[in-house]
């Protein structure tokens, strides 16, 4: 092996850091932007809701910037707060479950491409892989509810199981409908096949995927899992300290990865690629993918100011009676479009 | 039937029952005995007083009795401005009365409160347990006159 001088090591390190396998999941659409999005979205949610409700929302944290660092203050407080493990709780799963949930929410970034040819793990089946990973999160939430051995937490876990049944099939069917339409299960190819945004090609699938996304992220009006008014905080009742911070951030991380998939499948991903930027460094070229999913998250978060909460059986009935047939129709529509080979 | 005749009808029905009846300003007062309480209650129910407003206990230590006052009310238009008041006296040391739950269902909570505050036992009330006071309340019922509360020591009563 030839002797590695300093520049060689630096360039080697730089090559590794900037390679798609590391840069995409860790920096751009991955972990760091996810945490940054977490801070901004929760702050934006409280500010939008406050603006709708004739008040100001978090402000004095950073007076001139309008209280942007509010979530940082909340997160840091959780960091330093005492982490209580109740005696009645089952110790190890009580601690492991939220960490497992967080990893399951972050792992999908390994499959999400952020620019043409810039994808961490190149595989023809990245769409089902991502959806499979996201659908395991309810299992860990159920484990959290079960491990904390508290009546409200068990109610929350049962509700998570019910809700899982309601939206899982809808999300899968509408995503696979798009896969059928594009003839490929690879997210990257799906974007190249979209000469017209998927939203216009198959609007039914877009609608059902959107509602399934709102249900799975537990955002209002399907805020049923941590129904504050019935079961205090659902599966997160017994959690305090940073583990509760993870639990609270989990819903937003799941929403972030789902909005990324939504913008890839339906809003033609990163399409207006900025060619000069692409030639310098492909990783950042997919900035439009991030902008679209960020705006989508802002809209979903705005629903909090408009809606109350549906009852559990209403959500289940809607999931099975309305959105499941709709997603089946979406599959038929995409089969028809495929036959007419519109794509 | 205007208010006036209605009052007269009430008066006759109750006097037939052999209880003392007097009419104040829009209030028909009936002084009943513990035995005739149920009859008066059923009569009032048939007249239209279909729910109770309050069961109140007044402690008269001077003549060693507790007076239980029932106020019944009705929502239909002619009886609306009238209020039926049934007064029953029970001995202070062992106050027992018949529960009127099957006549007036909303008496269930009112009886619990009177039992708790004055110690009047209502036989037949399915769950006579503490309603407002903490369950571990051990002293005598608080609304009795001999349950003393720290008086206002600021200035002497100007009697």
């Amino acid at each position: 092996m030839r002797v590695m001088n300093i520049e060689g090591i630096i360039t080697w390190l730089l090559k590794i850091v900037l390679s798609p396998q590391v840069f995409a999941p860790i920096v751009f659409p991955g972990l760091l932007t996810a945490l940054m999005v977490l801070l901004i979205i929760i702050w934006a949610e409280r500010k939008i809701a406050a603006r709708v409700q004739m008040r100001v929302g978090p402000l004095y944290v950073t007076r001139r910037l309008g209280g942007v660092l509010q979530m940082l203050a909340d997160g840091a407080r959780y960091m330093f707060q005492e982490f209580i493990i109740p005696d009645s709780a089952d110790k190890t799963p009580f601690v492991v479950a939220p960490v497992m949930a967080l990893t399951l929410a972050i792992v999908p970034f390994a499959f999400i491409p952020s620019a043409p040819g810039f994808v961490p793990i190149k595989s023809q089946y990245s769409l089902p892989a991502v959806l499979a990973l996201i659908s395991t999160i309810p299992l860990s939430v159920m484990l959290m509810g079960w491990a904390s051995n508290n009546k409200f937490a068990i109610q929350g876990a049962v509700r998570e199981a019910f809700m899982g049944l309601a939206y899982e099939a809808v999300v899968f069917l509408s995503a696979l409908a798009m896969g059928l339409l594009y003839g490929t299960l690879d997210l990257e190819e799906a974007v190249t096949k979209q000469w017209l945004p998927g939203l216009l090609l198959n609007p039914i699938a877009a609608f059902t995927f959107f509602v399934g996304m709102v249900m799975s992220a537990g955002k209002l009006p399907f805020d049923i899992v941590e129904g504050e008014q019935e079961i205090v905080a659902g599966p997160y009742v017994e959690y305090s300290g940073i583990i509760f911070g993870i639990g609270m951030g989990l819903a937003y991380l799941k929403l972030y990865s789902l909005t990324l998939i939504y913008s890839i499948l339906f809003l033609s991903g990163w399409n207006p690629v900025i060619t000069p930027l692409y030639s310098i460094y492909p990783g950042l070229a997919g900035i439009f993918l991030f902008i679209k999913s960020f705006l989508l998250m802002l809209f979903i978060v705005f629903l909090r100011a408009v809606y109350g909460r549906y009852r559990l059986d209403q959500a289940l009935r809607a999931g099975w009676r309305v959105y499941l047939p709709l997603s089946l129709i979406a599959v038929l529509l995409s089969i028809f479009l495929r036959v007419v080979n519109i794509v | 039937m205007s208010g006036g005749e209605k009052v007269k009808v009430l008066e006759e029905t109750f006097t037939r029952l052999g209880v003392q009846v007097s009419v104040l300003d829009r209030r028909v007062r009936v002084i009943a005995l513990p035995e005739s309480l149920r009859k008066v209650a059923e009569e009032a129910l048939s007249l239209g007083f279909d729910h109770l407003v309050s069961i109140e206990g007044i402690d008269w230590p001077q003549n060693n009795t507790i007076e239980v006052v029932y106020h019944a009310e009705s929502y239909n238009d002619d009886l609306r401005s009238l209020l039926l008041e049934i007064r029953v006296r029970v001995p202070r040391d062992n106050p027992r009365l018949e529960s009127l739950i099957d006549v007036w269902p909303n008496a269930i909570l009112l009886e619990r409160e009177t039992w708790e505050m004055l110690g009047v036992v209502f036989e037949g009330n399915p769950d006579l347990r503490h309603l407002l006071l903490p369950p571990w309340w051990s002293e005598i019922p608080p609304l009795r006159k001999d349950y003393k509360v720290q008086e206002e020591g600021i200035y002497v009563d100007l009697e």
Binding site: K151, Q229, G308 | -
Partner: protein, 405 residues
């Protein structure tokens, strides 16, 4: 054991026997986002509520015992703390009973001012109820809008009486403050603002399809059961019973003001909320009438102003702020008792004051509307789903400090 009476009203259905695994018991405790300061022992079978046992008494501040130990005039600020959001209607009942005992009559201008403050308090109490009902569905916008607009009426009450919530405005013989000069314009501005806002409330809350699906057909209170259980207030009028203490008693200046009683037939949660919004409109029209028809004259009974030295009597007439004569410190209640019923925001409050010749009342009995509505939790909840519990609780507008006295 399950016992039920013959006319269809089941009054105690404690079906669960010990050791019955299918029953899941939840304590919606004193610290719970949807129970306020009281506790419900809810028994569930799957998702269906089997029985609810309201365990009240967490805010039992022994009003009746304290009222027996203090001079009569001190009972007014004491009893006002039962329902601080609707404080004038609470004390008005006591003052009317005391006026019957002391046989003093408030002058007509004071009667009209009492109606004015009662209606302002009724609107702010209904807005408080709407806000709590909104947050029970996690509809935080409704909570914030209702509480924000409630500040408009609290500000109006503050201009009239000087205090945000605890006005102690009525005393036996009249009222303490006269209406300030700029009050009518400000009241007119508040009413116009509120009429516009009520349309927004209907859009975002009562006509919102999501809220409608949570409210329609939930917590239905039949007309017969409502009157049999002695339910009061908007919960009663929403079940089709046309009863209002203001008509039954005809106190203050209500007999010569026109207002109709909003009513609904179906008696579910939506009907209750609609009746409350309707009543806000009625109260606003009442305020307009009072401001238009306010008679001139004194605001305090002649019987007591006579006892004031002439200099102070002159000052009272000019400033419109009443000074109490010395006798108020030791008002002697004559033998006998008096009864009064007043229509509060939550319903009809009942007073029974027994005087025995001393300065302290011998026995002061008060039954508040929330105490009479508590029995609804036992009947209305069984049979519903667990997630209907906060919806029904919010729609009943139950205020625990008033229920526990």
């Amino acid at each position: 054991m399950s016992t039920s009476s013959e006319n269809g009203v089941v009054y105690s259905r404690l079906i669960a026997k010990e050791g019955d695994e299918s029953i899941y018991e939840l304590f919606i405790g004193p610290q719970h986002p949807s129970s306020g300061h009281m506790r419900f022992i809810v028994r569930l079978e799957g998702d269906i509520i089997v029985s609810v046992d309201p365990d009240i008494g967490y805010v039992h501040r022994t009003m009746e015992k304290l009222a027996e130990g203090r001079e009569v005039i001190k009972a007014i600020p004491l009893l006002e703390r039962m329902t601080i959001i609707d404080s004038h209607n609470v004390t008005l009942g006591l003052v009317l009973a005391l006026e019957k005992l002391l046989d003093v009559e408030a002058p007509p201008r004071a009667q009209y001012l009492r109606v004015l403050l009662s209606e302002i308090n009724r609107i702010s109490s209904h807005l408080y109820g709407l806000g709590i009902a909104g947050i029970m569905l996690n509809h935080s916008t409704m909570f914030m809008w209702a509480f924000g607009d409630r500040e408009v009426w609290i500000q109006l009450a503050e201009d009239l009486t000087g205090a945000r919530l605890t006005h102690t405005y009525s005393v036996p013989g009249g009222v303490r403050r006269d209406m300030p000069q700029a009050f009518p314009e400000r009241a007119e501005k508040a009413i116009r603002y509120m009429e516009r806002r009520l349309k927004d409330y209907m859009e975002i809350f009562l006509d919102n399809p999501q809220v409608r699906s949570r409210y329609e057909g939930v917590g239905v209170l039949k007309k017969s059961e409502a009157s049999r259980l002695g339910i009061v207030g908007p919960n009663l009028r929403a079940s089709g019973v046309k009863y209002d203490a203001r008509l039954a008693e005809g106190y203050a200046a209500y007999p010569d003001l026109e207002f109709e009683i909003p009513m609904r037939e179906d008696g579910d949660c939506l009907a209750r909320m609609q009746v409350r919004v309707e009543e806000i409109r009625q109260s606003m029209s009442l305020i307009r009438q009072v401001i238009k028809k306010l008679p001139q004259g004194p605001i305090f009974a002649e019987k007591y102003t006579r006892l004031l030295p002439p200099a102070i009597r002159q000052q009272v007439a000019q400033t419109g702020q009443v000074k109490f004569p010395g006798i108020f410190a030791s008002l002697k209640l004559p033998e006998g008792d008096a009864v009064s019923r007043v229509e509060m925001g939550h319903g009809e409050i009942f007073y029974h004051v027994t005087g025995a010749g001393s300065t302290k009342p011998y026995r002061l009995r008060v039954v508040t509307p929330s105490f009479r509505n508590v029995i609804l939790f036992r009947y209305l909840m069984p049979g519903h789903r667990f997630m209907d519990f906060p919806a029904i609780y919010g729609s009943l507008d139950y205020f625990p400090p008033e229920g526990d006295r």
